[in-house]
């Protein structure tokens, strides 16, 4: 066969035509609320999910006993009310009547028990939420495979379920369980989560195009009333600036502004009516591990470091306003926050004096130390290193480490000096206080320990009354702050942009607000 130049062009023309045809399929978008997420979820399974993106999307489809409302309060969802068991530690839950799953089946106590068992079933890869069940009687046996069901969970009737604990856990009703339809596997097979959703939430799964979007459609039988929009589309947009451009071009109705674009957005006058800015439910601190750097053993050194940080200057300069000053452990907006904590003032003179008293005048005699963190904290650690060097004469070197490696080292207590944050997965100050600074916690990464603190936390977790429990939190928090066990540092902001035609939706310290009532005009 002889192929001349003409046929070569013809081949190219045909290739071009095929190409155009292949791209032709287009998607008509009805009244769909479009919002961005930073990456693909790892999965759409309410049992095994463990990361933020999946959690954010699943929240539109699945619910637990309670939910977080837009003002950050825990309100009843699938449980209407609950009371402590008369027979021992535990709760009796009265479930909401007339709740329908996405399949049309009714939600009953059987589904609660099923969800708990799925979380614990050996080999079923129960996700991080399985840890919330550790106080339930029989959970251990189920997890080890020596029992076929959880002995401590008793179905009283369709709408009532008793859950017995080995010791009281007053936070149990607010743990983020996602109750699922116990009939779904029989109907759709083990791979059901790639095809449908099995929750009770206002939206149900439609499709997931990897790298492009996760699309949900309205669940007309939702117990809280049918949604006002036809669907939700979570657009997968990894780049901060792309998300802003898409919002400007009208391709997104609401944008979750990532850290990289926050300064720019906050400074831009065009966005000033669209901006929502709230403190993130993430407790931030500068850890000083006393086991690894001898001078940290001296409380005066820890105090000097704490007051050598100019927090308002950081918020303004380093973060361009996309941050808030934090004076303790518990973040504003979190139940258990103490609004009366005194401001930690920047006091370089006193800091210098304290260092001299501790035997390190002008930093003399201090061994060198690294301040370590990940790429994302590079600016912060550079600021700290410079500040401690300038104010205290401390020989601090900046060290940037790969994230997973850094997390492992922090968990192992191998990092002496680092800023980090801890993001709340449920709405009670205990999330911070009992995990970050409680002695036995594996996430006590700075390894600060205090027996009185630990006792107060243990006691608080048995007190159901919010006000009384919060008083114990405040006492414990004060012990930590008075000992300068760590230095609170500015906390980041959650920033969202909302188009004027979007109603009843917001972004909260905990992430996306409730999707049930969102409207687009």
């Amino acid at each position: 066969m002889k192929v001349g130049p003409k046929s070569a062009f013809r081949v190219l023309a045909v290739a071009g035509a095929i190409f155009v045809g292949a791209l032709g399929a287009s998607l008509a978008e009805a009244k769909t609320f479009r919002i961005n997420v930073v990456g693909d979820p790892a999965q759409m399974d309410p049992i095994t999910y463990s990361e933020i993106v999946a959690g954010r999307i699943l929240r539109a489809m699945y619910q637990g006993f309670t939910t977080i409302d837009d003002s950050g309060r825990n309100v009843p969802a699938l449980a209407e009310k609950w009371e402590p068991l008369a027979t021992g530690p535990g709760f009796r839950f009265h479930l909401r009547k007339g709740v329908k799953f996405h399949s049309g089946r009714e939600f009953t106590a059987k589904d609660v028990k099923y969800t708990f068992e799925e979380l614990l079933r050996p080999g079923a890869k129960g996700g991080l939420n399985s840890t919330y069940l550790k106080v339930v009687v029989g959970a251990d046996e189920m997890k080890k495979g020596t029992a076929k069901e959880i002995s401590g969970v008793k179905i009283v009737d369709d709408q009532t379920i008793d859950i017995q604990f080995t010791k009281m856990d007053v936070l149990f009703p607010i743990y983020p369980f996602y109750f699922m339809d116990s009939g779904i596997v029989a109907e759709q097979g083990a791979d059901w989560m790639t095809k449908v959703s099995a929750g009770t939430g206002p939206f149900k799964f439609s499709k997931w195009q990897r790298g492009a979007s996760v699309d949900l459609v309205a669940h007309p039988g939702y117990w809280g009333g049918a949604p006002k929009v036809d669907g939700l589309s979570f657009k997968i947009v990894p780049n901060a600036d792309t998300a802003i451009s898409q919002y400007e071009a009208g391709e997104l109705d609401f944008v979750d502004v990532y850290a990289a674009a926050m300064r720019r957005v906050l400074r831009d006058d065009r966005f000033k009516n669209d901006i929502i800015r709230v403190p993130r439910a993430q407790s931030t601190y500068l850890a000083m591990n006393q086991n690894l750097y001898a001078p940290f053993k001296d409380k005066r050194v820890r105090e000097a470091i704490t007051i050598a940080i100019d927090r308002p200057a950081m918020v303004k300069g380093l973060y361009g306003g996309a941050a808030f000053v934090l004076n303790g452990v518990v973040t504003p907006g979190m139940p258990g926050f103490n609004p009366d904590l005194p401001e930690i003032k920047y006091d370089p003179e006193r800091a210098k004096k304290l260092m001299a008293e501790a035997g390190y005048p002008g930093g003399k005699g201090l061994p060198p130390i690294d301040i370590a963190s990940t790429e994302a904290f590079k600016d912060e650690i550079t600021y700290y290193a410079n500040q401690f060097n300038r104010v205290l004469g401390m020989p601090v070197t900046v060290k940037v480490v790969e994230r997973a490696t850094h997390i492992r080292a922090m968990n192992a207590g191998e990092v002496a000096f680092f800023p980090w944050g801890w993001t709340a997965d449920y709405t009670d100050a205990a999330y911070y206080l009992s995990q970050m600074w409680y002695g036995p916690s594996p996430y006590n990464r700075g390894r600060w320990k205090n027996a009185d603190y630990d006792k107060l936390i243990e006691e608080a977790l048995t007190v159901a009354d919010d006000a009384k429990r919060f008083a114990l939190y405040h006492k414990a928090e004060k012990i930590l702050l008075d000992d300068f066990g760590m230095a609170p540092v500015p906390m980041s902001a959650v920033v969202g942009l909302k188009k004027p035609n979007v109603k009843n939706f917001t972004i909260t310290p905990f992430g996306f607000g409730e999707f049930a009532r969102v409207e687009i005009n």
Partner: protein, 311 residues
């Protein structure tokens, strides 16, 4: 000819084998641990970490992991993705597979006619203002990095004029800007090549003969002269297609397109070893096949090459 094809195809095996070994070792040499990335801030959950490690075979010695991986390739599923829970790598790749070659092909289809046309014009009007103007724009097209052009075009056509989407994939109009951005440097490159080839061919005796026998200038230029530049041009187009394919990594990231290039980046950041390796191996395969196709195409259009192969 067919035997030549088979021989070349067999020649790909050591290339792919080497690619598998190198990517396997290179990706595992990266700092970071996939289970750590999976658990992120909760990696102190030792029981969970141990279980995941066993499930994905990461607790086995490296040689065993390698053999398992090779076995997974031969059984066709490339193993399980680390990032997408319980999904075979093949399923993760499937939707992205055609996107990058499609973008590259579209860019080539756009770049070729534009480039050839500009090149011919420059050659015909050699050393005039028109030639200079074309050359200056070519240098600009080649020197401005594609992310710069992309940002400018997005700002102009999407944000300001609201004519085209900023990013995404699934609609035809979402492919326009990415293809244009990909095509521009290639068009400039083709134009420069065409100009050089044309200038050379136009000096040849057979062109003088064509003109002497009174052929219309249009035929002289477009049939005789241009026809002869297509042989070297097709070789360059093949190589360029390979280059376009690797440029899709950048363009897919800018325009948020779920193609193989972005998947490669995402999977490396997520320490999703099986997916990252599969993407690299696929890219190697694409390159090898393109080179093969170019050689075959060359043989098809040039009788001299055909004779060489036969001999």
């Amino acid at each position: 000819m067919f035997r030549y094809f088979l021989r070349r195809l067999a020649g790909l095996t050591p290339v792919l084998g080497a690619a598998i070994v190198v990517t396997f070792l290179a990706i595992r040499a990266l700092p970071g641990d996939p289970v750590g990335v999976m658990l992120s801030d909760h990696s102190a959950d030792v029981a969970m970490a141990t279980r995941l490690r066993a499930e994905y075979g990461l607790d086995r010695p490296l040689p065993e992991q390698f053999l398992r991986y090779v076995w997974d390739i031969f059984t066709g599923n490339f193993g399980l993705s680390f990032r997408y829970v319980h999904r075979p790598v093949w399923e993760v790749l499937r939707d992205s597979l055609l996107i990058s070659p499609l973008l590259a092909l579209g860019a080539l289809a756009l770049a070729l006619p534009i480039g050839v046309l500009l090149g011919v014009q420059a050659a015909l009007h050699r050393n005039t203002m028109r030639d200079t103007a074309i050359i200056v724009s070519l240098v600009a097209g080649l020197s401005i990095p594609n992310f710069g052009i992309a940002t400018f075009l997005v700002y102009l056509f999407s944000v300001k004029m609201n004519l085209l989407p900023v990013a995404g994939w699934g609609q035809f109009k979402q492919a326009i800007l990415p293809i244009v951005v990909l095509a521009l440097p290639s068009a400039a490159y083709i134009a420069r090549l065409t100009r050089t080839f044309m200038l050379e061919v136009l000096q040849q005796d057979f062109i003088r003969t064509a003109r002497a026998k009174g052929l219309a200038e249009r035929l002289v230029v477009y049939r005789h002269a241009l026809g002869n530049t297509l042989v070297p041009l097709s070789t360059s187009a093949g190589i360029m297609f390979g280059g376009l394919l690797s440029n899709t990594v950048v363009v897919e990231t800018i325009f948020n397109i779920p193609g193989l290039g972005r998947l490669a980046i995402d999977s490396i950041f997520a320490r999703d070893y099986p997916v990252a390796m599969a993407v690299v191996i696929l890219f190697v395969l694409f390159y090898a096949l393109i080179n093969l196709a170019v050689d075959l195409f060359y043989a098809l259009i040039d009788p001299r090459v055909r004779q060489e192969i036969a001999a």
